[in-house]
C-alpha cells in the first residue's frame, strides 16, 4: 500500500508522462494511470483536477477544448516546453530520491 502523502509529490510525473506523446483529456489520463499501475493506483477525480489546475498555473500544461465527441466537448490538456523541463527535473529528482532511500532499505526486512 502506497501512502497518499508519498504519492502526492509524484502525481505530476504520472500526468505529464501521459501527456508526453499527445494531448488528452481527464478520464483518459486517470484510466491510463490505473492501467499502467496494474490497477494498483487510482487517481481520484479531485486529485486529478487540482493537479491540472496547479500544472496549468505553473505553465507546464495548457488546456483547450477538444472535438465534440458523443455529444460533448471535453477539455484537453497538452504539455508545454517548460512542462517537459519540469517533467525531466521531477524524473531526476525521483532517481535521486530512489537512490537515497534505497540505501536505507533492508531487503531482508521486506518479504
Amino acid at each position: 500500500m502506497i501512502g497518499s502523502d508519498v504519492i502526492r509529490g509524484y502525481t505530476d510525473i504520472m500526468i505529464l508522462f501521459l501527456l508526453l506523446n499527445e494531448p488528452t483529456y481527464g478520464y483518459e489520463i486517470s484510466k491510463n494511470i490505473k492501467h499502467l499501475s496494474d490497477g494498483e493506483y487510482t487517481l481520484k477525480e479531485t486529485t486529478l483536477y487540482s493537479a491540472f489546475g496547479r500544472l496549468e498555473r505553473n505553465g507546464y500544461i495548457e488546456s483547450f477544448p477538444g472535438q465534440v465527441t458523443s455529444g460533448k466537448r471535453r477539455t484537453y490538456y497538452r504539455i508545454t516546453e517548460s512542462g517537459r523541463d519540469y517533467y525531466r527535473d521531477k524524473c531526476r529528482e525521483w532517481v535521486q530520491t530512489k537512490k537515497l532511500i534505497e540505501k536505507f532499505v533492508d531487503y531482508n526486512e521486506v518479504e
Binding site: 478520464y27 477525480e45 479531485t46 483536477y49 489546475g53 477539455t75
Partner: protein, 327 residues
C-alpha cells in the same frame, strides 16, 4: 447517472457559486461521466458503477486552491443541510412541546394544591370533610396530575427527539431558510420578553399570599394553607410562561447556531440531579405526611425543596465551570 449528478450537486451544495466552482463541477462531472460510460460498456451493474465512481471521486478539500476557497470551508462537506421544511417543523414541534412540557411542569407544581387546601380545610373544620377523605382526594389529585405530567413529558420528548441532532452537529441552511428562521425569531422576541417578564413577576409575587398569612396570622389556620396553595398556583403559571418563552427562544437559537442556547452539559447535569432529587423529595414528603398525618404542615417541604433545588443546580453548574480550562 442521475445519482452521480446529484452526488456532485450535494458535494458542492453550500459552496458559493463562482465561475471557478462551476468550472470544477463541470470538469469533474465530465470525468465521472466518462468513467460511468466505460464501466457501463464493460457490462457492470448500475449500483456497482455508482459505487466505484463515488468511491473514486476523492476529497473536496483537495480542490481548495482551484476553487479559491479555504480548506476549512471545504472540509465542512459533512455538514448537514437544514432545509426550510425541517426548520419549520422544528419550530412548530418546539412551540407545541413548550406548551406540553410547560403544562406538565405546571401540573406537577399544581399537584399538591388540592391536598394542601383540603387537609387544611378538614383540620380547621371548614368544609366539613374528614381528615382521611381530604388526604385521599388530595393524594388522588396529586398522583393523577403527576401521571398526566409524565405522559406529557414523554410525548413531547419523543416529538423533539428527532431534532436533537441539531444541537450536536454543525449544519448549514440556505438563505431563504435562514431568512425564515430569522424572521420567526424576530416575530417571537416580543412574546419572549412578555413571557419571561410575566413569569418572573409571578414567581416573585407568589410568596406574597403566604407571607401575608404568616405575618398576619402567625402562619396558622386555613388561610395559611390557602396561601401555600396560591404560592404553588402562581409559581405554576409563572414557570409555564418561562418554559414557553425559553424553549421557543432556544429552538431559534439552535437553528441560528447562536451558541447562546443553554449549555447542553449544564442542562444534562441539572436533569440528572433532578431525576434523583425530586423522587427523594416526594419520598420524604409522603413518608413525613403519612407518619405524622400532619398534611396541613408537611406541604412546606415543596417550596423549600424548590428553592433548594435552584441553589443546588446553580452551585453544581458553577463548580463545573471552574473545571474547564480557560483558553
Amino acid at each position: 447517472m442521475d445519482i452521480i449528478i446529484s452526488y456532485l450537486e450535494n458535494m458542492f451544495a453550500g459552496l458559493p457559486r463562482t465561475p471557478k466552482t462551476e468550472k470544477a463541477k463541470k470538469e469533474l462531472l465530465a470525468m465521472m461521466e466518462d468513467k460511468y460510460n466505460e464501466l457501463k460498456a464493460r457490462g457492470l451493474a448500475e449500483n456497482e458503477i455508482i459505487g466505484i465512481v463515488i468511491s473514486e471521486f476523492g476529497n473536496l478539500s483537495e480542490l481548495a486552491e482551484e476553487l479559491d476557497l479555504g480548506v476549512a470551508e471545504l472540509t465542512e462537506e459533512t455538514r448537514i443541510c437544514v432545509g426550510l421544511e425541517e426548520a419549520k417543523e422544528y419550530i412548530t414541534a418546539s412551540t407545541k412541546s413548550a406548551k406540553l412540557i410547560g403544562l406538565g411542569v405546571m401540573l406537577c407544581i399544581f399537584s399538591p394544591i388540592l391536598l394542601i387546601v383540603l387537609v387544611g380545610a378538614s383540620k380547621y373544620g371548614i368544609l366539613g370533610i374528614g381528615k382521611n377523605v381530604a388526604a385521599f382526594v388530595g393524594l388522588l389529585c396529586l398522583f393523577s396530575f403527576i401521571a398526566s405530567a409524565v405522559a406529557l413529558f414523554i410525548t413531547s420528548g419523543m416529538r423533539l427527539n428527532r431534532f436533537e441532532y441539531l444541537k450536536n452537529v454543525e449544519f448549514y441552511m440556505d438563505r431563504s431558510t435562514y431568512a425564515y428562521v430569522k424572521q420567526s425569531a424576530e416575530a417571537f422576541r416580543p412574546n419572549f420578553v412578555l413571557y419571561i417578564t410575566l413569569g418572573i413577576i409571578l414567581c416573585i409575587v407568589s410568596v406574597i399570599p403566604l407571607l401575608g398569612t404568616a405575618l398576619l396570622l402567625d402562619g396558622n389556620g386555613f388561610p395559611a394553607n390557602c396561601g401555600g396553595g396560591m404560592l404553588l398556583l402562581l409559581i405554576g403559571i409563572g414557570v409555564f410562561l418561562l418554559i414557553n418563552g425559553g424553549m421557543v427562544k432556544d429552538c431559534h437559537n439552535v437553528l441560528l447556531q447562536e451558541k447562546e442556547y443553554a449549555d447542553k452539559n449544564a442542562y444534562n447535569r441539572t436533569n440528572r440531579i433532578a431525576a434523583v432529587y425530586w423522587p427523594c423529595v416526594a419520598c420524604i414528603y409522603l413518608a413525613w405526611s403519612f407518619i405524622t398525618f400532619n398534611w396541613g404542615t408537611t406541604w412546606i417541604i415543596w417550596p423549600v425543596a424548590g428553592v433548594l433545588f435552584g441553589a443546588i443546580s446553580a452551585v453544581s453548574n458553577s463548580l463545573r465551570k471552574k473545571d474547564k480550562p480557560v483558553l
